[in-house]
């Protein structure tokens, strides 16, 4: 057995814990004979959003004088994970309440061994802001195939709409326009220690009422100075306004299936718009925008890669459509009327 090297980013106390829990092979056996590996990946913990809190924030029940000891007895790894969810609840009370009304919680109460606990979706020590999609398809691997049976452009919906946007039907949604880098074909990420996006967005949005169409164009010009070989663009996603509500997931019978929940003018998700860049820790850094930016004529240039039927309907095209209808009906009627009025001259 080798002792794991100490991490400079973690506290002495955490490194002391990892002195043992960083080792391979350490495990705890529960009543039914199941073994829980006790090794913690130091690098994963260091990169997690919980790293600043330290080990004791979640493991305050450990009595160092009696550790390692028998501790509280559990029948199984599952029983241990269910019990430890109360630790998450201490800080994440809102999310916990939402989760209590979810299909996952209901299945857990019904005794399902597959219903995920907190760590089932978020992991135990390497908690990072993963996207909901990665998390969901970890278990629901057949989700795309199931949606392709009834949902047009299912793969695109899976890319542009977060799972919870349809499967948490009571939640409020929004459009997040995230900066995308065509050079790397991934989301543009703000580098650690070099914040720029929020400051730039605030300076462009001088009146502070959210970016309008002109200000969005200015922001893009500032992000992509003249001559940029592969200009970054904003790509839209339908997400929840607060991720807390993403915990109240319904079963598929309760999920939103009505297309016109989004594909209509003024649909709820399109009334709240943000522009964002991915922060150094993976979480988005957002700035508010006005909903008109989605339907303005200039969106063809400023948002060429985001379009949702109905939801981002261009008002100018609507006007052209009405004019075309008037011309289509008016020309024959007008021509016919003149022919009728002048009929005696033809005779």
């Amino acid at each position: 057995m080798s002792v794991a090297p100490a991490s400079g980013a973690l506290s002495d106390g955490d490194n002391a814990c990892l002195g043992c829990h960083g080792q391979e092979g350490l495990s705890k056996t529960f009543g039914k004979g199941e073994a829980l590996p006790l090794r913690v990946d130091a690098a994963a913990f260091e990169g997690s959003v919980h790293a600043p809190l330290g080990c004791t924030a979640c493991h305050s029940d450990v009595d160092l004088k009696a550790h390692p000891g028998a501790g509280k007895a559990f029948d199984s790894v599952r029983a241990y994970a269910v019990a430890k969810a109360t630790v998450c609840q201490q800080c994440h009370e809102d999310a916990f309440k939402q989760h209590e009304g979810s299909v996952h919680a209901r299945r857990m109460r019904e005794g399902s061994a597959l219903a995920p606990t907190c760590t089932g979706c978020h992991g135990a020590h390497g908690v990072t802001p993963k996207t909901a999609y990665q998390t969901c398809v970890g278990c629901h691997s057949a989700a795309l195939a199931a949606h392709q049976k009834w949902l047009p452009n299912a793969a695109l919906h899976h890319e542009a709409v977060s799972c919870a946007a349809c499967h948490a039907p009571a939640a409020l949604r929004m459009v997040d326009l995230r900066l995308h880098d065509p050079a790397t074909k991934t989301w543009a990420v703000e580098k650690p220690g070099k914040p720029w996006f929020e400051k730039l967005a605030r300076s462009v949005d001088a009146d502070g009422n959210g970016l309008d169409a002109r200000e969005l164009r200015d922001l893009l010009k500032r992000i992509n100075p003249e001559g940029t070989a592969a200009p970054k663009t904003f790509r839209g996603r339908i997400e929840l306004r607060t991720n807390v509500e993403a915990h109240r997931l319904s079963d598929k019978a309760g999920a939103i299936r009505a297309c016109d929940g989004c594909h209509r003018d003024g649909a709820e998700p399109f009334r709240n718009v943000t522009v964002s860049v991915t922060g150094p820790d993976g979480r988005p850094l957002r700035h508010a925008a006005q909903q008109e930016i989605l339907s303005s004529a200039s969106a063809v240039a400023s948002l060429p890669e985001f379009y949702a039927i109905g939801g981002t309907r261009n008002t100018l095209l609507d006007v052209l459509f009405v004019l075309a209808l008037l011309a289509g009906v008016g020309f024959p009627l007008g021509h016919l009327a003149v022919r009728w009025l002048l009929r005696k001259y033809r005779a």
């Binding site: 209509r264 003024g266 060429p304 309907r313 459509f321 289509g328 016919l336 005779a347």
Partner: protein, 217 residues
Amino acid sequence: MLRIYVHPLPVRIWHWTNAFGFIALILTGIQIRYVDLIGLMSFKAAVSVHNAVGWLLIGNFFLWLGFYLFTDKIRVYHPELSPLKHFRDSFRQAQYYGYGIFKGDPNPHHLSAYHKFNALQSMTYQVIMQLLVPLQFVTGVLLWDLKRFAGAVEFFGGVRVVDTVHVLLFIFFTAFIFIHPYLASLGHTPSAHFKAMISGYEEVEEAPGGAPFRDAG
């Protein structure tokens, strides 16, 4: 009146399939785009019908293209190579629709089997059939499966560019679908051209001396 065979069966099948298909595409397109204003059918049903009819009309387009490419009837689409003559004939035709028709002047265009389009129609249908209809089909196919055709969508400038082109053409065809049948009703009787597109035979006036007007094309 003489009866001459102007519209062969494949053209008539293509024409009526295209006509009713375009009406279906326009109606379902309106339903898809304005689901908050119109309730002809559900959004999903409109998308399904729109996709199915779109594919049908793409196949129908190739029926039209194949017929004209492999028969001598393609002569009806041969452009007038003299710009002066084309401009003069177009002006005469426009003058007829805008003025002459009201005082009973004869139609300056004399129809024949290889010269069924007047100068204005000739130019319009060249643009519609070789540019606008294919462009509408291409943009429609890209929108049908944006992930599969992501590379092409990016090449054209993004999904909003592709969709805007598709909607602009939809707007054009919406106006066209009203104006086209009206112009078709301006034959020697209001139903003459409609009957001809069913039977294939157009009725044409005889030239002085008893012969039909000769094909100028």
